[in-house]
């Protein structure tokens, strides 16, 4: 195949790849959102909750960090999907989202514990209620500690969206497979483009998160590498 044919394949197939990428990004946004909300709840339970809640949180964490992502995807799609109506996209959001919850809860727990105890004590001594002291004093500081590790989690999960391939979510990697079947061959070329697309989204996402980290930085909370 000559060079012209290669380029025409890329150009003609690009809309499909971008559609796949868009599905992947939606999956990423949904699973990170699930992980953010539940991860924070579990972290707060583990730090401030009754011991039974701590045990529950740790158990959840161990289970979802201890099972491979692909196995979780299959379990949710074929297992849970066997009892309740679950699209492959929804199954992927649940499986990867709960897995991300486990990782994010660790990030947030560490970040909350990095806030000196005296901060909460000072707020409580003023007569602030516990929820308000956590919301006004502890979390704003903890979330600053968390942005760095969270950027890492963003990158991991972006790449993990490609695993949703196995349960038939038509995201970027599966689109690539379709294109390769339809155009007979071009394997190396198409996967190279797919790799580049993942790379670009990851790079852009990291840029945004670094900028966020800079904007949130106040004296005493500088980015470690900025010092």
């Amino acid at each position: 195949m000559d060079d012209g044919a290669i380029w025409s394949v890329i150009v003609s197939q690009m809309p499909y790849l971008l559609t796949g990428l868009w599905i992947g990004i939606k999956l990423l946004a949904a699973l990170l959102a699930v992980g953010l909300v539940l991860g924070l709840v579990i972290a707060l339970m583990e730090v401030y909750g009754h011991w039974s809640l701590k045990v529950l949180g740790i158990l959840f964490e161990r289970v979802f960090r201890g099972i491979p992502a692909i196995v979780l995807l299959l379990l949710f799609y074929y297992g849970v999907g066997g009892y309740v109506e679950l699209s492959s996209f929804a199954a992927a959001v649940l499986a990867l989202g709960l897995r991300s919850t486990a990782y994010q809860s660790q990030i947030f727990r560490g970040a909350i514990q990095a806030v000196p105890q005296g901060q909460l004590v000072a707020a409580r001594a003023m007569g602030m209620s516990m929820p308000r002291a956590i919301g006004e004093i502890v979390l704003p500081q903890a979330l600053r500690h968390a942005t760095g590790p969270w950027t890492n989690e963003f990158s991991s999960e972006l790449k993990a969206t490609s695993l949703a391939y196995v349960i038939g979510v038509v995201e970027l990697t599966r689109q690539a497979k379709y294109i390769i079947s339809n155009t007979q061959g071009n394997i190396l070329l198409i996967f190279a483009v797919v790799g580049l697309l993942y790379f670009i989204v990851n790079w852009a996402g990291n840029r945004v998160l670094y900028r966020l980290e800079d904007r949130l930085a106040v004296p005493g909370f500088e980015r470690r590498d900025a010092a």
Binding site: Q119, V121, A122, A125, M126, G127, V218, G220
Partner: protein, 252 residues
């Protein structure tokens, strides 16, 4: 007439060690008392038991005749200022926000009024020009003064000071002590745990001497410093005075 703050027979134990063995104390409106005594005697524990940061095992605390309980804790703490040894300013907030967060988020004062109040209190501790600084940009002495302004902004009935100058270099101690002296002469009711003789001699109405979880004796500084009743008090104050002289104490 009831005392502003009344502490009755407080007991507190950590594991095997009984830190407070029945401490009673009363503070009248506008009075300032300094608690002194060897370390490990329960002075800080006493302060932390008063506002239930460490709830006492037994005994009662009455503020204006009302007893502190687990149910009215937040409402009562709003009227009891607390100044910490290591300041504990909110790291992510500018000085101004540190001072106005209490009125705004706890008392529900509107933003404009809280800002004015906060600026007044910052001015009172001589730091109006540092309103936009973050704690990390302030010296220890400045941080402690902001934390005093933070306590004042809640317009408390009494302020408890837990070794407010112990974490400071001698040259920074003076600026904090002079703010505290000013407060005392403005009629603020204060209970101060400190070995800072400058404040104790000139601003305290009474010195309370504690040892081994008990109050050994208390009285006006003149009497306690010159003619203490107990040998234990006398020898302790002698050591403190000698040390203060030697290090020049940084007293203003």
């Amino acid at each position: 007439m009831t005392s502003l703050l009344e502490v009755r027979d407080l007991h507190k134990r950590y594991g095997e060690t009984e830190v407070l063995k029945g401490v009673s104390l009363a503070l009248e409106r506008g009075q300032s008392k300094v608690v002194m005594g060897p370390s490990g005697t329960g002075k800080s524990t006493l302060l932390r038991c008063i506002n239930h940061l460490n709830p006492p095992d037994a005994g009662t605390v009455l503020l204006d005749g009302e007893e502190l309980t687990a149910r009215n804790l937040n409402a009562m703490r709003q009227q009891i200022g607390f100044v910490f040894q290591d300041f504990n300013l909110f790291t992510h907030l500018r000085a101004l926000d540190n001072v106005r967060i209490g009125p705004m988020k706890i008392l529900g004062t509107d933003r404009k009024e809280a800002t004015e109040l906060a600026m007044t209190e910052l001015d009172r501790v001589g730091l109006a020009d540092k309103a936009d600084s973050y704690p990390a940009e302030l010296s220890g002495g400045q941080q402690q003064r902001v934390s005093i302004a933070r306590a004042l902004a809640m317009q408390p009935k009494v302020i408890l000071f837990d070794e407010p100058t112990s974490a400071l270099d001698p040259e920074l101690t003076g600026e904090v002590v002079s703010v505290m002296k000013q407060l005392a002469s403005d009629g603020m009711t204060m209970l101060v745990v400190s070995h800072e003789l400058g404040f104790a001699r000139s601003a305290a109405d009474e010195i309370v001497f504690m040892d081994g979880g008990h109050i050994i004796e208390q009285g006006p500084p003149d009497r306690l410093f010159t003619a203490p009743e107990h040998e234990r008090t006398r020898s302790f104050l002698q050591v403190i005075a000698a040390h203060d002289h030697e290090g020049d104490g940084g007293t203003a």
